[in-house]
């Protein structure tokens, strides 16, 4: 089945720093999404980004579907950005999540 790999698995940054999270996938898809799960477990959809680039405030995402990867950029990190970031894909009526990148933003 399709494989979704995220890197790095963990990231510790100082408040104000920028970060780039990566998602590689093993098959051609056009439906990649990014989610954020806060430290209390609440999961929120950040982007639906099948291709191209989208921006929402300090967050932006780019997907290059032909090369099977997506990047999530976080600029000027804040402590509220802490949590786990997941990318996910739909295939055969199922959604497949990666294992996530755990981000710690230190004050």
């Amino acid at each position: 089945g399709i494989q979704v790999e995220q890197s790095p698995p963990d990231l510790i940054l100082q408040e104000g720093a920028n970060s780039t999270l990566r998602c590689n996938f093993s098959d051609s898809v056009n439906n990649l999404q990014w989610f954020h799960q806060n430290p209390w477990g609440q999961l929120i959809n950040l982007f639906y980004i099948p291709s191209g680039t989208k921006q929402n405030g300090r967050l932006s995402a780019t997907t290059v579907a032909t090369e099977r990867y997506s990047l999530l950029y976080i600029s000027s990190s804040q402590t509220t950005d802490s949590g786990v970031y997941f990318c996910a894909l739909w295939r055969d009526d199922k959604i497949i999540f990666g294992k996530g990148t755990r981000l710690h933003i230190l004050p």
Binding site: N31, Q33, Y48, L89, D92, F97
Partner: protein
């Protein structure tokens, strides 16, 4: 408007027992999906229901079953509980489901502990 609600928030069961988890979607949403999230892992897709019919099923044993009611709320049932069923169970609702472009809204989850 209320978001997705799940009940109970926490649950402790023993091996072999049965459990029922409940989910109420956002008003107007007709699709509900269930996920299992083991500590340190990403959510694993269990079921998706749309208009009371199963639309998708993940790789879970038949001990897991679900249904959707006429008001679009949903229940997830797990029989013959195993220690490995201990996890956070998440419910998500969306307008029609089955498409990545249809944003899913997640509930706060039910944390199940099997002893």
């Amino acid at each position: 408007d209320a978001g997705v609600t799940q009940s109970p928030t926490h649950l402790i069961k023993t091996r072999g027992q049965q459990v029922t988890l409940r989910c109420s979607p956002i008003s107007g949403h007709k699709s509900v999906s269930w996920y299992q999230q083991v500590l340190g892992q990403g959510p694993q897709f269990i079921f998706q229901y749309y208009e009371k019919e199963e639309r998708g099923r993940g790789n879970f044993p038949d001990r897991f079953s679900a249904r959707q009611f006429p008001n679009y709320s949903s229940e997830l049932n797990v029989n013959a509980l195993l220690l490995g069923d201990s996890a956070l169970y998440l419910c998500a609702s969306s307008l029609v489901g089955g498409r990545a472009a249809d944003t899913q809204y997640f509930g706060p989850g039910t944390r199940l502990t099997v002893l």
